[in-house]
Subunit: 207 residues, 2 copies
Amino acid sequence: MEKMNDVDEKTLIEILEENTLIDLAKYINSVSTPQAGAIATFSGTTRDTFEGKTVVELRYEAYVPMAIRCIKSICSTARSTWDLDKIAVAHRLGRVPVGETSVFIAISSVHRDDALDACKYVIDEIKALVPIWKKEVYGNGEVWKENKEFLERKFEPGSLGAQDNCGSAAKVKKAHDRKGCCGSKVKVLCEEMTHVSSDDEVYKHFV
Amino acid sequence: MEKMNDVDEKTLIEILEENTLIDLAKYINSVSTPQAGAIATFSGTTRDTFEGKTVVELRYEAYVPMAIRCIKSICSTARSTWDLDKIAVAHRLGRVPVGETSVFIAISSVHRDDALDACKYVIDEIKALVPIWKKEVYGNGEVWKENKEFLERKFEPGSLGAQDNCGSAAKVKKAHDRKGCCGSKVKVLCEEMTHVSSDDEVYKHFV
């Protein structure tokens, strides 16, 4: 799989091919500017247990063009909500062993609240909306998993069939009262939210 | 000035001597554990303008033993509020040119909300409570500055003379409704909140 990226002057989005470590310093440097007084980051890492079971690694698959479009839309909504300078989002595909980073977000802003709040918004939205799937590989088996938030959004009454792109329909409330729209209350769905795959287990979870 | 640090198994606090860059990767690695699914970080960086004036650099001074004690107390309060794994806080002293990091926080947790919310709390509390002062050096002069939040807390009615240590008296409400106690409503003061200095300008701001 090729490295896919989408870059404009202020937003960098990269979906990384299998076995490519996420270079945190690269993304932090990419959002650093003389105008910014703050950089907030979030790393999602593979942890060693899930619901009491020992996790060996996670494996990620994505419908890459749609994932990039979806992340771009989420970043655009974040920009319209907070006063942000630069944004970088990287997501790794394939195997991600315990302790390694699968998703990384770095956001810069003049004032710290903007970067911090936007960082939380962007990871919440990525987990809920972007067509990236993970398989948890345990010591004694493996299972494809959906993010809880993804299903909440997808099957929320009234949300099916919505034509909104990722993020763009989210009526984001600023800062600390914004949780209500990051949980199950935002009625947004990625368009074409289907996953073309030969793996029936994946397919049944998401179509 | 010597490098000062305070380390326990789960919390690393370092006040760095002049001209020592903050090594972000070191602190991120220091909070990385197999149990953690999330790492949130915040970098405070010197920006090139403040209120329309061109900033050349910031200069930081601290009452180091008190600053470390205060940060430690803030971290302890964060731990009692959120489910956190490891915390690292680094603050640089002396000159910090535009674009460089003066303060860095990295926090790991099993679930992402804990690290993200705690990261915001810790930087808010550091800005408001810790005896570290900054001088803004402009193209045409320089001035010692207090953090707005610091003065809000210090001169809040009823807060003067409080015996609480940093952070320990903060009745922190979790997550998104917590802003109320990170602004001017928390009645906490560092004990011994005076700054021994030969610089009258600094002294008059904080005693």
